[in-house]
């Protein structure tokens, strides 16, 4: 049923561009003011301002701060990506001496250069594989653990604490700990394998194993968040539904499939979106565990952007900004597509 509906809407949207535009236009207004769903004109906006002036006043400081700490660097980054700025020609102050900037506007040259370089596509493919693998494994594990913890059993609180622990440890500490475990010659993992008579695994020395390792560490870091979020979702599903289903003779799988999953939908859609964005940009795990290596086999888009900006000399700020803007654009496209596909399934947000 659901699949049918979504298809027909998709078709309609595809056939009729106007519907598409209207849908997007409406959604934007919905965003800026959820309560003004029906507002279509400037007068509506004025009315909204008059009614909710206190809300605007409350929001203003946050908007201001966000504008300064996110908006300005963003605008600056986009501008830099259109120039040839590097370490030699940006303005800088050395003691009392001030050197003026001498970089120039070059239009879209940087984008052409990055997109025509095969490196971009290689990094993009691995970044997508890495994101999909991490998010799907993290979500599945989180869901399983949340279900297990949602029952009443002895020591439930202790298990919950233990499972949330990885989240409490600072990320870089965890990653360094894993790096020691993974060490091929002196790491604990290989010592254990050796005890079992299994040959040492080149965890971080072989491109395929290195990819496996970074995914494993990221999953380990990401599961607690998934679990806590989904556990919250599970607890908001009314128990009566399960009771009624049991009365009707539904099996455990049927209950999971028809009550738990739909009940978790709103939560899981949100955490999957968040998790996707975080994983896509997960700099510390890759950088601290493998530095993108061995060779460049685990390099994702953000670590590549870092390499562009901070490793070669003179540092290429324009090139790095270009990578940054491209990453942002990719994520925005993803979020839009994701939201539209949710809307088609009848999810409202």
């Amino acid at each position: 049923m659901a699949a049918d509906t979504s298809q027909s809407v998709a078709k309609a949207a595809g056939d009729d561009v106007e519907t598409d535009v209207a849908a997007r236009g409406r959604s934007r207004r919905t965003d800026s003011n959820p309560t003004e769903r029906g507002g279509k004109s400037a007068s509506g906006l004025r009315r909204a301002l008059a009614t909710h002036w206190y809300a605007w006043a409350m929001v203003a400081p946050v908007v201001l701060v966000l504008g300064v700490i996110i908006g300005w660097p963003l605008v600056r980054g986009i501008y830099l990506s259109l120039t040839d700025a590097n370490e030699r020609n940006v303005s800088r102050t050395i003691g009392v001496r001030h050197i003026e900037a001498t970089y120039e506007f070059v239009g879209l040259d940087n984008y052409v250069a990055v997109l025509s370089d095969p490196v971009f596509l290689q990094r993009l493919v691995w970044t997508v594989v890495w994101t999909v693998a991490c998010v799907s494994i993290t979500f599945t594990l989180g869901l399983v653990l949340a279900n297990m913890l949602n029952r009443d059993f002895r020591g439930r609180a202790a298990y919950r604490m233990a499972l949330i622990l990885p989240w409490a440890v600072p990320g870089f500490v965890s990653v360094f700990a894993w790096r020691f475990l993974f060490n091929r010659d002196n790491g604990i993992l290989n010592k254990i394998l050796d005890g079992g008579g299994i040959a040492a695994i080149p965890w971080l020395d072989d491109p395929t194993w290195a990819k496996f390792s970074v995914v494993a560490v990221n999953v380990w870091l990401g599961v607690p968040f998934m679990m806590v979020a989904l556990l919250g979702g599970l607890q908001s599903i009314p128990g009566e539904l399960y009771e009624a289903a049991e009365m009707d003779g539904a099996s455990a799988w049927q209950r999971f499939r028809h009550i738990t999953l739909p009940g978790l939908r709103a939560v899981s859609m949100t955490v999957i979106l968040l998790s996707t964005i975080w994983t896509f940009n997960m700099f510390p795990v890759i950088f601290l565990l493998t530095r993108g290596g061995p060779g460049d086999s685990t390099e994702i888009l953000v670590t590549q952007a870092f390499r562009e900006a901070f490793v070669s000399s003179p540092r290429d700020f324009a090139g790095s900004a270009t990578w940054g803007v491209l990453i942002l654009a990719l994520l925005m496209i993803f979020a839009l597509v994701y939201r539209r596909s949710l809307r088609k399934q009848g999810e409202v947000w």
Binding site: E87, R92, R184, D185, P294, G295, V311
Partner: protein, 424 residues
């Protein structure tokens, strides 16, 4: 009355100006020292390793014995992150160190960006006259002196005398001999012959020099890493690992190498004088005499190791340049260099230091000095340091078999030409 004050002030001013001029004519730095006028804080970012840092901190803080009003703030910055950290600090200007210990490959880069204060003329003259010429060359950029060499080094073949004796082999002089020796060691002791560091392209240099190649030719502005000799060097690296002569890692190379060598898991390694102090700390070298050093094994053309080392330089934005320069002069003085040679087996950069008994008696220094004299001088270009990162990627790929030696050499050439714009 008023006029009287004005007159006195005028006389006083004139007198001051006169003395100031006199001071300038004689020796500004000398007078400052004699008067003990230097004061303030000198922050020094040192990049020496864990085994060396305590010794350097002690030497640095002893500066206050000569200049009681100067406080030395010692900060150890791990070598791997240092180039970035220094650049961040220098370009933002806040919390920047006054003095840095820069790898010889970084000086031209920092100087070209305007971050370094020129060495006072007096000191620059001394550098030319009293220091090893190839060490002095590393501190210059476009004919001006920006840094004073602190230590000089090169790579050599470290070997475990006992393990080699047990296997009945001599320290190998060529890579061919190395392979035979490694096979014998494996057979007799079950351990690896050589640990070849696979995650740092500096360790690739002896291989490419051994084939008669180099990374670049600065004179003709040509990238040479991807020529025939370069390809051969990548092949050699791969061959050392696949033939079983060497073991390697693609991550954590420094720690794995030192552990393997110190615990006798590998009988030989290629390393520099900075590894001596740490190696002595290992089980295998409780008897220091067990550590032997030889020239790096020759490739098919020659035996060649890169000239490396560290220079001390003063930040152009330092608020306390006079004290900072005095500190650099002190840290590169004969007595400090002799001390670090004695404690850490590091090689002095002053010619006269080699006549000192403490230096003469150090076997490591005695070995490394002739090696340094023959070491291959690198191209002192601003991009020198940045060539190592793309080279590392390709070297690791080649040594682990993720990419063929030909492809690795080609890719390194492509990356080099991106960095060195306009080079052939």
């Amino acid at each position: 009355m008023r006029r009287g004050i004005a007159a006195t002030a005028l006389v006083a001013t004139l007198a001051l100006a006169a003395t100031a001029c006199g001071g300038d004519d004689k020796d500004a730095a000398g007078e400052a020292k004699a008067g003990g006028e230097l004061s303030g804080t000198v922050t020094w970012w040192d990049t020496s390793n864990d085994a060396e840092k305590a010794s350097f901190q002690k030497l640095a803080e002893a500066f206050t014995a000569k200049h009681p009003k100067v406080t030395v703030k010692y900060v150890n910055v791990p070598y791997g992150d240092a180039q970035n950290k220094v650049k961040n600090a220098f370009s933002s200007g806040s919390d920047a160190p006054d003095v840095i210990r820069a790898d010889v490959g970084w000086v031209a880069d920092f100087a070209s960006l305007g971050y370094l204060d020129e060495v006072p003329a007096e000191t620059a003259k001394k550098v030319d006259a009293e220091f090893l010429s190839q060490a002095a060359a590393s501190g210059k950029y476009e004919g001006k002196t920006y840094a004073v060499p602190q230590v000089i080094d090169t790579l050599g073949l470290f070997y475990n005398k006992k393990m080699l004796a047990d296997a009945g082999v001599q320290p190998p002089k060529t890579l061919e001999e190395l392979k035979t020796a490694a096979a014998a060691i494996k057979e007799k002791t079950g351990k690896a012959g050589l640990y070849l560091r696979g995650d740092d392209s500096y360790w690739f240099l002896p291989l490419i020099y051994g084939e008669g190649g180099d990374l670049v030719d600065a004179k003709s502005k040509t990238v040479t890493v991807d020529n025939e000799a370069g390809v051969k060097a990548f092949k050699t690296a791969r061959d050392l690992v696949t033939s079983g002569a060497a073991i390697t890692n693609a991550t954590d190379g420094w720690n794995n190498m030192q552990t393997a060598f110190k615990t006798g898991q590998a009988a030989m390694m290629i390393n520099g004088p900075w590894a001596v102090a740490d190696s002595y700390a290992g089980d295998q070298f409780k008897d220091k005499a067990n550590l032997g050093i030889a020239a790096v094994p020759a490739g098919s053309v020659k035996a060649g190791a890169p000239q490396g080392g560290h220079d001390l330089a003063v930040y152009a934005g330092s608020k306390n340049t006079a004290a900072a320069h005095a500190f650099v002069e002190y840290m590169t003085s004969q007595e400090v260099q002799v001390q670090s040679a004695k404690e850490l087996s590091l090689l002095p950069t002053r010619t006269a230091a080699y006549d000192q008994p403490d230096v003469k008696s150090s076997e490591m220094v005695q070995f490394f000095k002739p090696a340094v004299d023959k070491a291959v001088e690198r191209a002192w270009i601003p991009e020198n340091g940045s060539l190592f990162e793309p080279l590392k990627v390709e070297y690791t790929k080649a040594i682990t078999g993720a990419s063929s030696p030909e492809d690795a050499a080609k890719a390194a050439g492509v990356e080099f030409r991106k960095i060195l714009k306009g080079w052939k």
